[in-house]
Subunit: 282 residues, 2 copies
Amino acid sequence: MTEQRKITDPDGPIHPFDAATSVRMREDGAFVGQAGGNYWAFVGPFGGATAASMLRAILQHAERRGEPLAMTVNFAAPLEAADYCIDVRCTRRNRSTQHWNAEIRQGDDPQPKASATAVLGERRVTLSHQSAVPPTPRPREELPVFDPSGTPPWVSRYRFHFDAGAPILSASALADPQSAFSQLWMADAPERPLDVLSLTAIADAFFGRIFHVLGTIVPFGTVSMTTYFHAAAEELAAVGPWVIGRVDARRFHRSFNDQTGELWSPDGRLLATTHQLAFFKA
Amino acid sequence: MTEQRKITDPDGPIHPFDAATSVRMREDGAFVGQAGGNYWAFVGPFGGATAASMLRAILQHAERRGEPLAMTVNFAAPLEAADYCIDVRCTRRNRSTQHWNAEIRQGDDPQPKASATAVLGERRVTLSHQSAVPPTPRPREELPVFDPSGTPPWVSRYRFHFDAGAPILSASALADPQSAFSQLWMADAPERPLDVLSLTAIADAFFGRIFHVLGTIVPFGTVSMTTYFHAAAEELAAVGPWVIGRVDARRFHRSFNDQTGELWSPDGRLLATTHQLAFFKA
């Protein structure tokens, strides 16, 4: 296993997201994959890619029924740029829902580096009502694409066009806290049609709110992340590559802060809501 | 075990919340308790009480270190009004955080009826910044207490004073969807000083948003619930019994809806943010 092998060609036949998050079932039923490469973050792989790999393992399981409704990932320790193993387990099967656990391990470490729960189920057609007001950002074409120079590799695997709350970073924290809110267009780079796996990763692609508030980079990490999926597979497939993200935070206190994000289709349908608890040092 | 035994006296020496959520470690290391009684909901115990019992088991474990930072509970099947068993497991220990799993079972059913993950950790004193604007409801004394007549037993275990978005329920759904937003004063009944366990339960004490939107009761259940805790134990202890809750939902679609709640101290500090995915039939 060389570093070369882990970096996939962004213009190759397999999209780098699918290459980075692919898993294969081993004979013992565990799923194996490889962390790192194109989706590297500060001290480990981009959490969104790890979450997507874990969900992919669940979705590839022979006994899986239904679509993802809710997923929580707890990030316990950084993964190394090396092979990993995902153990998945269906904890309960009901008539129309399934409950799954997933744990990801590396090497001889018996403790999982991340653990996840996912609820899968049928999405029957019901009353449909959107109480939230869709975002109305300026057209993407009128907004500059975010320049990923100087950022970790994973940032280059997305395209961001900020409508509001673009990060403005200095060498040290600003005297006054800035807004924690951002609104932006987001897509995989290169563009990739949306599905529940890429949506899972994009849900983690908002920059840490502490960077926006302080105007500088400080030690930061997602502790726990929960995403609710509000669209059926065929609805997601019709969206295309671009979503509109809206994100904010409420309180930064005693080492941790919350974060709430929304991912919208360009035509104003809420596709996912996503929440995080993040660690920061400041 | 009689029904009599499960109903505790609301004016007795042990607060009904503590009685209903108490757990005891068995010789094999599992925690046992009893569902039902004062905190019954539609088809099972109030989910907030179940969540609190699971967190209580984790907190009572001899190897527990740190305070709850984040907790997710997946409700897989309704518990019966009977004994239950909670298996807790520390999946990873770091220098300043711990990751725990809990699963609750009843009788001979090998599949857990609810499963939870919790992240515990140290809350170091850091920069503190509240980006959210605190709610400013009318004083509690000026607002009528919610009349729990005709509601499930658990509702009588809380006091609610609605400042906005009180439920107005009819026999059938209204023609136009109503607001999903509510703002209210909330406390245990009888009043009980807040701690992380009661806060965990209060986080589930918002009424289903679908009832507010439709103006009627329909089949409903919380599927998954995540709460982030933003205050240290000594900060919670200083709050007293009352919190201000603010809750909303964004999309009701294909059998499920999200819900986001905030729990504030009366003096304007955000104590917890809480999120749900709920099932509805309409």
